[in-house]
């Protein structure tokens, strides 16, 4: 699922080279941490959170099929972490 989230986000943002998806596998849950450039945050979240919700819906459906829970976490302060 990491590849899918990555390709969706890279296509949406202005700075695709700064899209980083980290996958953390737990026993039953996989957390996908998404980091993008600060100015691209709005693009991956979308109007009224629609884009983020659509990605989460896809993750939830994939989770049902694969009997796993996928969580998407959008991490905000990428720039601050860098500096």
């Amino acid at each position: 699922m990491k590849q899918l989230v990555e390709s969706v986000c890279k296509a949406l943002v202005d700075n695709p080279d700064q899209v980083v998806v980290t996958q953390i596998d737990g026993e039953q849950t996989t957390i996908l941490e998404l980091r993008v450039h600060q100015s691209d945050l709005g693009k991956v979240i979308g109007k009224q959170g629609r884009t983020a919700r659509a990605i989460r819906t896809i993750l939830a459906a994939a989770g049902m099929k694969q009997r796993r829970r996928f969580n998407l976490e959008i991490i905000e302060n990428f720039d601050q972490q860098q500096s």
Partner: protein, 206 residues
Amino acid sequence: MSDKKEFVANSLKDAIQKAAEDFGIEEDKLKYRIITEKTKYFGHKQREIFIEAWSSDGSEQKGLEDFVKLLIDEMKMDLQFELESKSEFLRVNFSGEDYKLMLYQNGNLLNAAQYLLNRLFADEIGKKIYCECENYRKKKEAELSTQAHRFARQVRRNGKAIQLPELNPFERRIIHMTINKYLDLESKSDGDNFLKVITIRKKLNG
């Protein structure tokens, strides 16, 4: 995909012609997006239309196909898809074993996939993308229309307004179109969100 260029003309037809001449291609191979439309002197003088155009070699559709393949593979779903290109829209038709999952919770996944595909590819392809699965939208349309007729009869009979549950724009459109056929009734959407509630009531002067 080739480079995009901007063109301006007095009408859309002229702008498209201009762009096609500039690229040296037939008009049907040209993709465009209207940037803005301006009228001078309150529309009394002339209109100016700005378009962004590019020549299409079909590579946009390839991008969409690859993405849908990736989506199905990553989700490990047993689904196939077909693309059907019409003049106004592009339809992605899903079928296969896992169609129930696609339509789970009122077509939630189908809507999510449609939304993402539109965000990613609609501008490049130059038309809207519709996702369909096992005739879900067609059936839903018929079902909503029947429902709207039933509500309309109910409002007519006892004169009380009825409020429908939250609906998405596609569903609301069908309800409004059905209610519009009743001259003495009106329908109104309320809310600021993507999902809104519709109220059906008798017209005040009706």
